[in-house]
Structure formats: structure tokens, C-alpha cells
């Protein structure tokens, strides 16, 4: 049975920031939405309410870093780059300020529709020089993000999961590593964020169908550990499937396609995610199904690769429960 952790960010941020007095907790009028309300109440001297003024918040954070503080910015991912993009570049990215941007509600994990859905944030962030880009995929990764992000000498953007978050991994996130969740030789499946949990729903069905899946979980988009997956791509039988809670352009799928072309690997790639489209508001289950990056879409992609129909029904996947996943190897091994 999967452990569900309540508000792992709120708990772990408080634990980390309360011990590091140079950290200032900035919030763009989304304090409880980003789970830092308890911290605000208990450590008011480390809390700076910035209101709904993101352009100022970015440059102000740059200024705080110039006077020796480490701002952790809390807002929805989408508000961290769309409106204040200019400020993000000039005040934070270019001068390599030690600012940690915690972007909540990644991708379609909000019913609030286009204005709230950060669906191109990874694409934008990973093309900005000096940025480090991380996406959390479970409670353990959320719990380790503050310490890991704060270890970087420069700006960091993190996609954060909030609320009730499943615990999939038993080892903390380490920037630059890639998790190996299952060994296999037919299909290389690379997932990130909430898509990892979604892909795991299909695991039992795929095993019973005799499909051998090599499953990797990516949390660090930049710097991307490309050398570590070269051989895995080369040696896979059918091809690579990426699955991301993001546009298929500019994110995980694109990152992998860049590696394939850079090293001249002749492998096919199927990219699951938002297919060059905006989304609308709805539940995570509905939206991942509607836009074709749920467990069933993964089964379809595998069928395409092996050119045969698998005996897996929607209802088999509905029943699938997610078991604790322990990395096959120590994370450092990959």
C-alpha cells in the first residue's frame, strides 16, 4: 500500500528554513496554497509577503540575494516565469543569484485552466543559462528539495507537488541523478513528475503481458545527466517512450530527442504529454486521459512499438494500485 504524505513541502521547508536564518520565505499572495502558512506564523521574521506583484518579487529577491540572503520564492509555477520573465532573466538568472523558485501546480495538476497551468515552464527554464531545473515526483523528492536546491550556487527552479503526495521512493533526490525503477530490454520508458506514478499503474499489467520495460525517473532537467543514459538508449530493442506532465515540446521528450540526435543513436521516440496544445480545467485523472498521457496512453504507445495489441483493458489499470517502488540500484549507480 502506498504511503500518502500530507503536505510534505510545508513540513520539510519549515524544518530546513528554520535552521538556516539566511533564508527568507517569499510568497506571492499564495502562502497557504504553497504550504508555507505555518512557517509564516511560526517564523514571521523570516517571512516576506510580496503580494500579487511578481515582477517586483523577482527583482526584489535578486536584491535580497545581493545583501546576503537566500530567498525561497513561493508561487504557482506559471506565475514565476510568464509575467515576470524579463525580471527572472535580468534580476536572477543572469547574475546567478542564489534564489530558489518553488513553482507549485506543475502542468495540469490544477483544475484552474490555462492561466494556472504551467505547461511550458521546463521548456522555458531549461533554456535559460545559469538555471538549474528540478521536478519532484513523489513525497520523498519533495522532502529533499529544499536542501538540494539550496546546495546550488546559482538560481534554481523547482516543480513542487503539494497536498497529499504519494511516497514512491525511499532515497532522497540528488541533483543530477536519474532513478532506475525497473530493468528491462524491450522499451525504455522515461518519466518525470506525476507521470512516474501514472506509469507505475501499468506495471503489473505489462509484466503479465511479458513486456520488458526499462523504466527511468528523471527529476533533474538541468544539468541533465545524458552520458548515463546513452547506453540504455542504444541497447533498447524497440524504442523510447517519454511521459511528462508538460508540453511534449521543450521538456523531457525534447531533451531525450536532443540526446538521440546529438549522439546519432538510431532509436524511435514516442513523446507522451500535451501534444502542442493548451489544456483546460479539470481533474488530473480526466486531463491526463483527455490529453493522452495516462497509463492507458502508455499502453497504446507500447503497442505501437511492438506492433501488436496487448490484452490490457482500462479496467485493469483502474484496479492497479501503486506499490512502494524501491530503486533497483542505488541512485548513484545511474
Amino acid at each position: 500500500m502506498t504511503e500518502i504524505v500530507n503536505k510534505p513541502y510545508g513540513t520539510s521547508f519549515k524544518k530546513y528554513a528554520s535552521k538556516h536564518k539566511n533564508i527568507l520565505c517569499l510568497s506571492g499572495d499564495l502562502t497557504s496554497s504553497c504550504e508555507v502558512d505555518t512557517f509564516r506564523d511560526e517564523y514571521p521574521e523570516q517571512f516576506v509577503s510580496m503580494g500579487m506583484a511578481e515582477q517586483n518579487m523577482m527583482s526584489f529577491a535578486g536584491g535580497l540575494a545581493m545583501s546576503g540572503f537566500t530567498p525561497f520564492i513561493h508561487t504557482f509555477g506559471v506565475f514565476a516565469y510568464r509575467r515576470p520573465y524579463d525580471q527572472l532573466l535580468a534580476s536572477i538568472a543572469y547574475p546567478r543569484r542564489r534564489v530558489r523558485i518553488m513553482g507549485f501546480l506543475p502542468g495540469i495538476t490544477t483544475p484552474a485552466g490555462m492561466t494556472h497551468q504551467a505547461i511550458e515552464d521546463i521548456s522555458v527554464m531549461r533554456t535559460i543559462p545559469n538555471m538549474t531545473v528540478i521536478e519532484t515526483g513523489d513525497a520523498t523528492e519533495v522532502e529533499s528539495i529544499c536542501q538540494q536546491a539550496d546546495s546550488i550556487d546559482g538560481p534554481v527552479y523547482c516543480r513542487i507537488l503539494r497536498g497529499s503526495v504519494p511516497r514512491l521512493f525511499n532515497s532522497p533526490l540528488k541533483i543530477g541523478e536519474i532513478r532506475n525503477l525497473n530493468s528491462g530490454s524491450d522499451i525504455l520508458l522515461i518519466t518525470s513528475g506525476i507521470c512516474t506514478e501514472e506509469a507505475l499503474r501499468a506495471r503489473a499489467s505489462l509484466i503479465s503481458e511479458g513486456i520488458s520495460i526499462l523504466h527511468l525517473h528523471v527529476h533533474t532537467f538541468k544539468p541533465f545527466n545524458e552520458e548515463k543514459i546513452l547506453d540504455l538508449i542504444s541497447n533498447i530493442k524497440y524504442g523510447v517512450i517519454t511521459m511528462e506532465n508538460h508540453l511534449i515540446n521543450g521538456g523531457l521528450g525534447t531533451t531525450i530527442s536532443e540526446i538521440i540526435s546529438k549522439y546519432g543513436l538510431s532509436k524511435k521516440l514516442i513523446k507522451l504529454g500535451l501534444q502542442d496544445t493548451f489544456a483546460h480545467g479539470g481533474s488530473k485523472q480526466y486531463l491526463t486521459k483527455y490529453y493522452g498521457f495516462d497509463a492507458y496512453a502508455l499502453i497504446n504507445a507500447i503497442e505501437k512499438f511492438i506492433e501488436q495489441k496487448l490484452n490490457i483493458e482500462d479496467k485493469d489499470l483502474e484496479k492497479a494500485r501503486i506499490e512502494n517502488v524501491h530503486s533497483l540500484f542505488k541512485a548513484e549507480a545511474l
Binding site: Q55, G63, Q87, Y94
Partner: protein, 306 residues
């Protein structure tokens, strides 16, 4: 570092240097020297408590942009002295005034004259639009409107650290059209940043011409006061007025000094170019020659040889 010259003389020196540069290089951000010379002279010579320059008198070549692998990276802030607790800190917001800033650094003895010969040359750090690594600069302000927010962040941090020094922003009025300025004012007032102050060169000019025609933003004094900051309006060519304005009490509030200026002060001939004064480029050799004779006379120098 206290200069032995008067701020008035420094202002004249700034105008002369920028004018000379303009004639020799067939164009410059000239009107900005006219409007801001007194303010920058006063800021460096009197208003700010700055330590001695810790940067090389002759600017280094461009050392690369900030990156994890660039260990040589430095901003141009060293020309304003060390950024330590007791000293004031200057954020130079209108980056296109860079030439005026460099002329000021020379006049107050923080940069050698040869610094200006590197202006806008490939591979030089003395860039046409002041970059972080340009003398006297600490951040990229080429995108207008981010200076006040940054200074507010610095001031907030310095307040938490109980630092003595204040944080000053030199601004221009055109950037008041940017929404971010008003966001920054809201936050500076809300957090009672009285260790933050700004002087705004209100020359009523922007790239397309006079602000009143491009986008009139109305009574900025009233607006800034309404936002809760202490706003004082003065004649921006009257250094005594600046001295008085800086002494005004602004308990629990940031201080914004609106320095009303003329974009052709000290170079009356420029009036013929009004309202297109953002960047003065000669339309003909004849104009260049005429401007050289007329303005040199007004500045009390011989015509520039070029």
C-alpha cells in the same frame, strides 16, 4: 574618497566630457548629460557615503558573463567602493545613461580618462548600455523598471542586518511608465524602507520624444505621495535644492526626489532638436560643425577637434 572639486564644477566637467565624446564619435546619449549632470555630480561628490574605489582605474576588458565556470567575473560596483555595512550603495537604473556615469566616474577620480576611450569598443567592459560589469554598475538595468525593486530588496536585507548605509537609486522618469515601479513603491512603503531613497531625472523625455506626447503619466508627485512614499519635487539643476531635499525627514518611508530638468541644459543648441533628443546623431557635417562651435562656446571650451 572626497573630491576636492565642487559639485557644480563636476557637473560642468561631465557635460564637457560627454559633449566631446559626442562630437568625436558622431553621436551620443547627449541630452541625458544635460539633464542629469548636477544629480550625478551631487550623488557621487556629496550625497553618498562611498568608500574608495576598489576597481582598477583603467577598466579591465570584458571578462565573460556570469557562469558557474567563470571565476573571473566581477561587477562594476567596485568603482563605487566596497559594499560593506557602513557605506551607501548606488543602483544606477537608466543604463542608457552609461556614458554620463563614466564621465562622472572620471570627474570624481574613480576611473581614469582612458576608460572612456574604451567606450562601446568590441571586447570592452565600458559598454554603451551599462552592463553589470561596466564601471559603476552592479546590475543590468537596460530593461527599465527593475532598478527600484532590486534596490528595495537590497534595502530590506540591509534593514534586517541593521546596516548603517542607505541604498540609493538613480532613476529616470520614463521608466515610471513601467508597472513594476509602482509594485516596487507599494512594497517599499509597506515595509517602511526609510533606508531607501531615489532621485529621478525628470527630463520628460523618452525614445519616441516628449513623454507628454508619447504617454503622458500625469502628476507623478501626487501619485508617488499617494502611494505613501515621501516625494519631493525640486529643480534638478539646483544642487542646493538637492541638499535640502535629502535632509527632509521621511520616517518610515522611502524618499523619492523628483529632479525636474531640462534635456538641453547647458547646451541650448540642442533645443533645435527637440523633441527627438534620446540619442543625438548628427544629420549632417554642417550640423555637427555648427553644434561643435555653439555648444563649445556655451561650455566655455574651444571647439572639439575631430
Amino acid at each position: 574618497m572626497k573630491n576636492t572639486l565642487s559639485s557644480e564644477n563636476i557637473a560642468l566637467g561631465i557635460r564637457r566630457r560627454v559633449f566631446e565624446h559626442c562630437i568625436k564619435n558622431n553621436g551620443a546619449y547627449l541630452s541625458q548629460a544635460c539633464s542629469s549632470a548636477e544629480q550625478l555630480a551631487w550623488i557621487y561628490n556629496e550625497a553618498l557615503n562611498l568608500g574608495d574605489s576598489i576597481a582598477p582605474s583603467t577598466p579591465e576588458k570584458f571578462q565573460g558573463v556570469p557562469s558557474a565556470s567563470n571565476k573571473n567575473y566581477k561587477t562594476g560596483a567596485g568603482y563605487n567602493g566596497p559594499a560593506t555595512s557602513e557605506y551607501d550603495r548606488l543602483i544606477f537604473a537608466p543604463a542608457h545613461y552609461a556614458l554620463v556615469a563614466y564621465a562622472t566616474l572620471i570627474e570624481v577620480g574613480r576611473m581614469s580618462e582612458d576608460g572612456l576611450s574604451m567606450f562601446n569598443k568590441d571586447g570592452s567592459s565600458v559598454e554603451i548600455i551599462g552592463a553589470e560589469h561596466s564601471p559603476g554598475m552592479e546590475m543590468h538595468n537596460g530593461t527599465l523598471g527593475i532598478g527600484l525593486s532590486t534596490a528595495a530588496g537590497i534595502a530590506y536585507g540591509r534593514k534586517l542586518n541593521n546596516e548603517k548605509g542607505s541604498t540609493c537609486v538613480f532613476m529616470s522618469d520614463g521608466e515610471l511608465q513601467e508597472g513594476q515601479i509602482w509594485e516596487a513603491l507599494q512594497v517599499s512603503v509597506f515595509y517602511e524602507l526609510e533606508n531607501l531613497w531615489a532621485i529621478v531625472d525628470v527630463n520628460e523625455q523618452q525614445v519616441d520624444g516628449a513623454m507628454s506626447d508619447v504617454l503622458n503619466i500625469g502628476d507623478i508627485n501626487k501619485k508617488i505621495n499617494s502611494f505613501g512614499a515621501k516625494c519631493i519635487e525640486i529643480d534638478g539643476h539646483d544642487i542646493n535644492a538637492m541638499r535640502q531635499a535629502k535632509k527632509e525627514k521621511h520616517d518610515g518611508k522611502p524618499l523619492i526626489i523628483l529632479a525636474r530638468t531640462s534635456p538641453y541644459k547647458g547646451m541650448s543648441f540642442l533645443k533645435t532638436r527637440f523633441p527627438r533628443l534620446h540619442y543625438v546623431r548628427f544629420k549632417s557635417e554642417e550640423e555637427r560643425n555648427k553644434m561643435n562651435i555653439e555648444i563649445s562656446k556655451e561650455l566655455g571650451i574651444d571647439p572639439i577637434k575631430y
